[in-house]
């Protein structure tokens, strides 16, 4: 009997071959219609779980565990090749769902890249090297001679991150633009445009490639969908695709409900009772300084739009607040345009959506700015003082600070909400406008008008 050496993926053992697909091309498989939707929903649970984890500021080790758990719970199949098929099919179905607008693409790209990153980390180093060559990364390992010449600098970089440089460390030399994350964090030595990347940082290289490829693929998918597929599939796949998307994206608060309209005179009161800390702070600063820099105007302005402030009232509000510093004429010239822009009345006519917690937390307020998330961006003392001013009891303040120290900013805000309103918030806070609506619901449960 002849034993034939097979190099193709076998369902019984996949010791040497990587199980991580690159999703380069849609598989020529037959898929049952039920599986089309079910597989996608399972994968979506994984992606949504990742999104949640990122929003809560989980550290890399926690994310690694989270991804492993999510994958195990939703995507496993006793037969390895069935699992691989589900993996690939679900990815391509979700491409159809999430290719259709810029915001959807951005979200999908972000989650799939994060998923890929953590799955890549689980792979053995041979598997990782194999994947690297599949990406056709033309980067060679740094020669011994060159390594000797830059060893000091490489050591410095390692020590600056609290690590040590092994004498037999392998490094790759790549153009710096291939590893933006490592450059941004000053985690590599760069010389004459080349970054010296350690083997354990190679993940970054591969992930960048993956991301860039998927980004382009999504654009192409969108074109194909819009031009041919949607029409062909309007009775079969299109309804499934469209339903998948809306069932999982939370409300974006871009359409404030009519009952929740507010006017300028209401703002003072609701700021004290129902604004989350980030918006309270911005509002107080506007009152105090009669000015806000751009980041603050955007964050607060869009929030107010979501709360129900109409364009004319918004213009009146900002104009009145800025009046001590900015003449009416100058206001019209320099600020009114941007406010109208936010309401979709100028330029691209995009109706901008109020920022979610994730976006606010990841912003970078600089000198003179007051936007951002206070739980992340304030010093401990300033945050405590602000919480006390909000009426949070000292014991609750300790609980909040504990969450902050562990970088669970949204949980900190949730605890604040619970302390201020005296009731629990099970869903957790992930959008300032959600905080506002939930607050109003508690304070004014019967009629629809503003508390």
């Amino acid at each position: 009997m002849e034993v034939v050496q097979s190099h193709r993926k076998s369902s019984s053992n996949n010791v040497t071959v990587s199980t991580l697909p690159l999703y380069r091309s849609a598989p020529p498989l037959e898929v049952r219609l039920e599986d089309f939707e079910l597989f996608a929903m399972d994968r979506l649970r994984v992606l949504k779980g990742i999104s949640d984890g990122l929003g809560r500021g989980k550290k890399p080790e926690e994310m690694e565990k989270l991804v492993a758990d999510l994958w195990k719970a939703n995507m496993r199949h006793p037969q390895a090749n069935e699992e691989a098929n589900k993996d690939i099919i679900s990815h391509f179905v979700l491409r159809l769902v999430y290719c259709r607008t810029e915001e959807l693409r951005k979200w999908f790209l972000s989650m799939e890249t994060t998923l890929f990153r953590y799955r890549f980390r689980f792979e053995s180093s041979e598997a990782q090297r194999a994947l690297m060559s599949e990406f056709k990364l033309p980067y060679k390992a740094v020669s011994n001679a060159e390594f000797e010449s830059v060893k000091d600098k490489l050591g410095q970089v390692a020590r600056s991150m609290g690590q040590t440089l092994a004498s037999d460390a392998i490094f790759y030399k790549v153009p710096f633009e291939e590893v933006p994350e490592l450059v941004a964090g000053r985690r590599v030595f760069i010389c004459k445009g080349h970054a010296y990347v350690a083997m354990n940082q190679v993940v970054s290289l591969v992930v960048t490639q993956f991301r860039s490829y998927l980004s382009k693929a999504l654009i192409l998918t969108n074109r194909k969908w819009t031009s041919t597929v949607r029409e062909q599939e309007k009775d079969r796949l299109a309804p499934i695709v469209e339903a998948l998307c809306t069932s999982y994206l939370g409300p974006d608060y871009s359409q404030p409900n009519e009952a929740g309209e507010i006017s300028v005179k209401d703002i003072d009161h609701i700021a004290k009772t129902s604004f989350p800390l980030c918006m309270r702070h911005l509002f107080e600063k506007v009152r105090e300084d009669h000015h806000l820099k751009h980041g603050g105007r955007m964050q607060l302005g869009l929030f107010l739009k979501g709360v129900g402030l109409k364009l004319d009232d918004a213009l009146a509000f900002w104009k009145a607040e800025f009046a001590p510093k900015v003449s009416a004429e100058r206001f019209d010239k320099e600020y009114a345009y941007n406010i109208r822009h936010n309401y979709g009345r100028e330029g691209k006519r995009t109706d901008y959506t109020p920022y979610s917690c994730q976006k606010i937390i990841s912003s970078t307020p600089g000198v003179g700015d007051h936007h951002g998330c206070p739980y992340r961006h304030f010093s401990e003392e300033n945050l405590r003082a602000a919480l006390v001013r909000m009426g949070v009891s000292s014991r609750a303040v300790e609980d909040v600070m504990d969450k902050v120290r562990n970088r669970h900013y949204q949980l900190a805000c949730t605890l604040t909400f619970e302390a201020v309103h005296g009731s629990s918030c099970d869903a957790g806070i992930n959008h300032p406008n959600q905080y506002f609506i939930d607050s109003q619901r508690i304070l004014q449960p019967k009629n629809g008008s503003v508390a």
Binding site: R159, E177, R186, G193, P365, G366, V367, P374, S379
Partner: protein, 450 residues
């Protein structure tokens, strides 16, 4: 003869009255600007620069390239017009002369002519494809560490903060990132701009630009969170270490500390003591300095004496925690390290003022700065619009109108721009265009082969 002398009337005035009539009142207005755009503004050089070699005759030259660049004009009554584009140097020159903009901004090169953008619908069809990597450093961002001026004022005491910013960033752009074609420009009032024009830089994505900006970022926070600089890790990254030893430390100790009297009075030294994470160390120093309010025995500047005391306490072998030892560097960094406007650098579609514009509030021309000699740059002697107009008048009526700038104070700046920046850049562009053409030719030959 200066304006002052003309007004006072010199006794031994052998010059005739025509000289007095040439004294131009100071100021910035459309009439002077018209003359400036007519005779001094280097339209052709700007065109050549922005063409990056595509105005040549080589078959690989992209004739549409210059026409896809966005310019924006701010006109006299604060009227702002965007998405201006031009197909030739003549169109550019005529439009500038006709509209006489108070400010010209340069935007990115788009995928299609900006003037035709409405014809293209949908995502990603009208989109920036090239844009220089740019930086904007404004001295008002340093207001919390300079005591001589605030706001829009600048003097020779605090200007050196810009000088060291240039040195730190320029060295990193060349040595770390490998860029070569870098132009530093005075912003006309209170800061500097940097244009990195290598092909590789122009083609960077927003994400890559953000990465470079973050590589340079050391400050986090604002008045809501107190610690502004954080240098974690037992050792500094080579870029920060080099900046510290080669530029920042020396400048801080020799110039900034004494000139701004950072340790001489209580409210000033408190600011520095606040940065020390260990309260007992801070109060030890505080105690010593409060006792020593009167001038000490030594003739040395009190700031330097106190700084030495601070260093020896913080860096002594007794200090166990690394946060204490690192404190000295953090203090120096917080005062001197460059403060960049991140948003300017991160987005391809950000518009930035063109070099050789005139600043409406100061009348000064946005002239290039030589990074190799930036210590010598003096913002208070940069040519002003009225000064240049006066210089033109003084030269009288000449017949040839070529290179009028050469007879004015602007001459040196334009020559510098050409020899150190423009010519090397264009030479390199030409080589790039030719070599990529040859590569493509070779590739198509290869695919045709059996």
């Amino acid at each position: 003869m200066t304006k002052e002398e003309a007004e006072n009337g010199r006794d031994d005035m052998a010059i005739d009255g025509a000289e007095q009539a040439n004294a131009i009142p100071d100021g910035f207005n459309a009439n002077y600007l018209r003359i400036y755009y007519g005779k001094l503004f280097p339209h052709a050089d700007m065109f050549k620069w922005m063409s990056y070699g595509n105005d040549g005759k080589h078959p690989a030259c992209d004739k549409s390239y210059f026409g896809r660049r966005e310019f924006s004009f701010t006109l006299e009554n604060d009227i702002y017009i965007r998405f201006q584009s031009f197909n030739s140097v003549i169109e550019l020159e005529n439009s500038i002369k006709e509209k006489c903009p108070f400010k010209i901004d340069i935007g990115p090169v788009y995928s299609v002519d900006p003037a035709k953008r409405h014809a293209y619908a949908g995502d990603n069809v009208f989109t920036p494809v090239e844009r220089e990597l740019v930086f904007d450093i404004d001295i008002t961002d340093y207001d919390d560490v300079r005591y001589c001026c605030t706001g829009a004022d600048v003097c020779l005491e605090c200007w050196p903060l810009m000088t060291i910013a240039i040195k730190v960033i320029d060295a990193a752009l060349r040595d770390d990132f490998g860029f070569n074609h870098i132009l530093w420009v005075y912003s006309g009032r209170r800061g500097v701009h940097c244009w990195v024009c290598d092909g590789k830089a122009r083609r960077l994505t927003n994400e890559q630009r953000a990465a470079i900006a973050d590589y340079f970022r050391v400050y986090k926070g604002n008045e809501n969170s107190h610690k502004k600089i954080s240098l974690p890790g037992p050792v500094l990254h080579p870029f920060l270490a080099r900046s510290y030893t080669e530029v920042l430390k020396g400048f801080f100790e020799a110039k900034l500390l004494p000139n701004q009297s950072l340790l001489s009075s209580e409210d000033r030294y408190e600011k520095i003591l606040e940065m020390i994470p260990d309260a007992s160390v801070a109060s030890e120093l505080r105690g010593r300095w409060q006792e020593n309010k009167r001038a000490s025995m030594s003739k040395d500047d009190i700031n330097l004496v106190r700084w030495d005391q601070l260093k020896s306490v913080l860096q002594s072998g007794k200090q166990k925690t690394q946060g204490i030892r690192r404190c000295v560097e953090e203090i120096v960094f917080s005062f001197t390290y460059p403060r960049l406007d991140m948003e300017v650098s991160k987005h391809m579609n950000h518009l930035l003022k063109a070099p050789f514009c005139v600043h409406p509030k100061t009348g000064r021309v946005c002239v290039p700065i030589d990074p190799n000699n930036c210590d010598e740059f003096d913002p208070t002697t940069v040519p002003t619009l009225s000064q240049l107009v006066e210089e033109l008048n003084r030269e009288g009526l000449r017949q040839d109108t070529e290179n009028e700038w050469d007879r004015t104070s602007l001459g040196d700046s334009i020559k510098f721009f050409r020899t150190t920046f423009l010519q090397p850049l264009l030479k390199s562009c030409k080589e790039d265009i030719e070599s990529s053409y040859n590569t493509k030719l070779q590739q198509s030959k290869n695919t045709l082969s059996w």
